[in-house]
């Protein structure tokens, strides 16, 4: 039987073309080896070909067996997955990479405020190029954590700041700063980074003081003291810097034992206990 005809017949039922080609090449190698062996024994090329094809067996029966062994489905799935991967790479490179590059550049920025400081002094630099010399007469290590939803809240730092507001009539200012850290494993939903997570509420303390954002003037008796909040996000972590009682009247306010800080829209309250050094 003609070798080409034998090979075509033996492989014609393999439906996945790359497999058909690969099996045909392999069978062809076997056939050529047999033909060479026949020629070496003194057979003519025609006789060697006939002997080789006869020795390889019935191509029709072999075709049935090869078709059974070489199911096309895995091959087709593999081909499909090659296309899917090519499209995924193309879309990711053209769309996601520029966004991620921009995102990573943002991630490289230094946070706009320190998460914790030690007693002493430090210089805080602002994006506008303005810098402020700040004295830290007291700082605390606050341990523990509180889980609200799937966010874990800890205290990165708590300290008192004092500085002087410059100008024609400079005056000293003192405030309590507490930096809260909220982290989660659900990287697709970090805690909302809006200042109003804190500013929409009124923290209170063990001294009976309350703190509010809408206070523009120096507080009178029984009125809320001032409240401000800055936030920073990196990945799935959000920091909230809470500033309490930015007051000029340094002698009339003392550091409380604890501060209750309402956070978010669900009525949750975090108690930062400075005297015990724990958040609850």
């Amino acid at each position: 039987m003609n070798a080409e005809y034998w090979l075509d017949t033996a492989t014609e039922k393999i439906r996945f073309r790359p497999d058909r080609k690969a099996v045909r090449r392999e069978l062809q190698d076997h056939l050529e080896d047999r033909m060479e062996a026949g020629k070496a024994k003194g057979l003519s090329p025609y006789e060697a070909e006939e002997a080789a094809t006869a020795a390889m067996g019935d191509p029709v029966a072999l075709a049935e067996e090869l078709a059974r062994v070489h199911s096309p489905w895995w091959g087709r799935l593999w081909r499909l997955s090659q296309w899917a991967l090519a499209i995924a790479v193309l879309v990711t490179v053209s769309s996601a990479v520029p966004r991620l590059r921009e995102y990573l550049q943002y991630e490289m920025y230094d946070p706009p405020f320190p998460f914790s400081v030690e007693e002493g002094s430090y210089t805080r630099e602002f994006y506008t190029g303005y810098a402020k010399e700040i004295t830290v007469p007291e700082a605390w290590d606050i341990g523990g954590s509180v889980d609200l939803g799937h966010y874990r809240f800890t205290v990165s730092g708590a300290w008192v700041e004092e500085w002087t507001v410059s100008g024609e009539d400079p005056y000293p200012v003192r405030q309590l700063v507490i930096t809260l850290r909220a982290s989660t494993w659900r990287f697709w939903e970090p805690l909302n980074g809006s200042q109003f997570m804190i500013l929409d509420h009124m923290p209170s303390d063990s001294g009976g003081n309350t703190y509010g954002y809408d206070v523009d003037t120096a507080p009178g008796e029984d009125e809320p003291l001032s409240l401000f909040c800055e936030t920073f996000q990196r990945g799935a972590t959000t920091w909230l810097r809470v500033e309490l009682n930015q007051t000029r009247d340094m002698d009339s306010w003392s550091v409380p034992d604890w501060v209750d800080i309402p956070v978010g829209c669900g009525g949750d309250i975090l108690r930062v206990d400075l005297s015990k050094g724990v958040i609850s």
Binding site: G75, W78, S81, L85, A96, L100, L191, C265
Partner: protein, 234 residues
Amino acid sequence: MAQRHRRRFLRNLFLVLIFSLILWYAEGCPLPTQEMELHRWERQRLAPESTVVWSYQGRQGNDRDMLVGVSPDYVHAYAENYRLTLWPRSGDTATLVVLPDRTRYQDKASSYLDPALVAVDPPPQAESARLFLDFSLRYAGTTEEADPAALTRVPAPTYTLEGDRQEGAFFFQLQRQYRHLGGENPTEEEQLLTGREDDIMAFLELEEPRWLSFSYVLTFYDSDGDLLETVTSP
């Protein structure tokens, strides 16, 4: 050979999943439905999860999908990827909320985008509702605030809106009524009202529950037109 194809297929599938995850993250981790997005916004704000009672599908691309949901103490008003506002929920009467984005409506041959409001928890037998809005408070100065009677002298837009029952809530579309006021020579008051209406239409969607700039009277009627409930602004 089949085994080799299977290995390669699984490897490619794994790589496709990795790239898809990168793409999903780069696109801001979008979720498949607006309701899932609403619940994510709620979780990120430590708000309770709401049950959706009303929905709006944006049309023509520049008005957002919106959802209104209820939790035990709040009514949640959400505009797709834009805002979530929580309104204190009245325990035993209906609650009126201002939607956080504008909705589209037809007026003669044109379509407009203007603010809208939704009343949730209406009386079960309510077939119709009416909403009266008075914006005098928004434009009253300090002296007028001290003297309620003076509010009646403040030229400010008022609106009477018929509610449209949708999905168990009542929807009220605010429409301009001073648009063509006064013809070619409007009076000073007409100009003032038109200007104030422009202001209301531009900023009402930013309204916050704590600082309502208007007063309202919301009434519900049964199928016979009998009054069922009246709700007034706090």
